[in-house]
Symmetry: C2
DNA sequence: GTAAATTCTTGATTTTTATCAAGAGCAACT
DNA sequence: AGTTGCTCTTGATAAAAATCAAGAATTTAC
């Protein structure tokens, strides 16, 4: 099984191998160079991609600062979900932080899965609810944890990220300033 | 059209009246007394309900404090989404803050919609993506706003809530302590 | 209607986090 | 290799928010 197939399997729960390869076959490989934009705010988002390698930053520029909403890593899917599903202008800008390999499915192909894969609607729902639950957890972390607690929690689960992308983006994603991030990090290292 | 039907219509987007009443007919009225639990953490959540009147608090008790995740009001649906969809133990406790009228559909009836309403899977997906987008906005508010900004933003969009439920719960839901909430409120009133 | 319980406010203080400013460390470019 | 940008760190200070404690206001229960 390819990594794409393994991820489809793990994202969508128990699912038979025929279905997995049938879904995987609809994704096409693409390469992004560091700095390339996968998507820009207000543009149309007609693709859903699986990250095979590299890092992508999902963010929004406000008057006074950039806000990093998330960093997508190997094994995750990346898209502007509401834009992709509702054909609305994208909420987020998505940019490659490193060279990136992705597997992409276009909206038109995506629509076909409904008919070619009988269980697709059900799998798709489970996928989206899973994403929903992840966001619920993130909100909870902002309601119940300090910056330092969020740092530690995130660090424990994403160690590999800390020496591969600019730390300022991780800081933003955790809801703190880079200086605060740096000070927490210093404490932790000693 | 009943309020339930209107809400189904607005939640699920454009949809024909036959479909609306067909969906609405599967919901049964229920009454909750103030203080009643709609759901408790780790229990099975087999219902999705539409709030006709009253307020429900969705929260979690941690060692040191209660964390209010959301307050459901008239016109909203309420459930523990991951518990309901995945048949997993509920993540949240949900309690009536006032007497509450709801319309409820049980999981078993809910499952039937897939077959009786052709477009159901599509509508359901749109519904869940809509919920997802709402949570994205909330995360963004924690990454980019101060407590005071979150207060004002929420106040502008939910004025009615401020004189109908204990303010400490709104404070928690916005990620601040009741004292901070009270001080911001004082500033605003003057 | 009154007592009890809960919720809200306020002040004083501490802790946490942001801001500002400067310099050090690193990486990228030619 | 040297210069130019970024990025990260550090210190000093300011602002924001939490904590603690007490009392006022409101709601609930009998």
């Amino acid at each position: 099984m390819t990594e794409l197939e393994l991820s489809i399997k793990s994202y969508f729960g128990v699912i038979d191998p025929e279905e997995v390869s049938s879904i995987a076959s609809l994704f096409q490989p693409e390469l992004l160079k560091k700095g390339d934009y996968f998507l820009k705010t207000n543009k149309n988002c007609d693709r859903l991609s699986f990250v095979q390698s590299g890092f992508l930053r999902i963010f929004l520029e406000t008057e006074d600062k950039d806000v990093t909403q998330w960093i997508s890593t190997k094994g995750y899917f990346v898209t502007d979900l509401s834009g992709f599903i509702f054909d609305q202008p994208a909420r987020w800008t998505i940019q490659a932080l490193t060279d990136v390999e992705i597997y992409t499915i276009r909206k038109s192909e995506y629509e076909k899965m409904k008919t070619t894969i009988p269980r697709w609607s059900e799998l798709e729902k489970l996928f989206i609810v899973h994403c929903f639950t992840t966001l619920e957890d993130r909100i909870f972390s902002h309601l119940s944890m300090t910056a330092e607690e969020r740092y530690h929690f995130f660090f424990e689960n994403n160690k590999e990220l800390f020496n591969q992308v600019p730390l300022q983006y991780i800081a933003s994603m955790l809801g703190m300033r880079p200086e605060t991030f740096s000070r927490i990090r210093k404490k932790q290292l000693s």
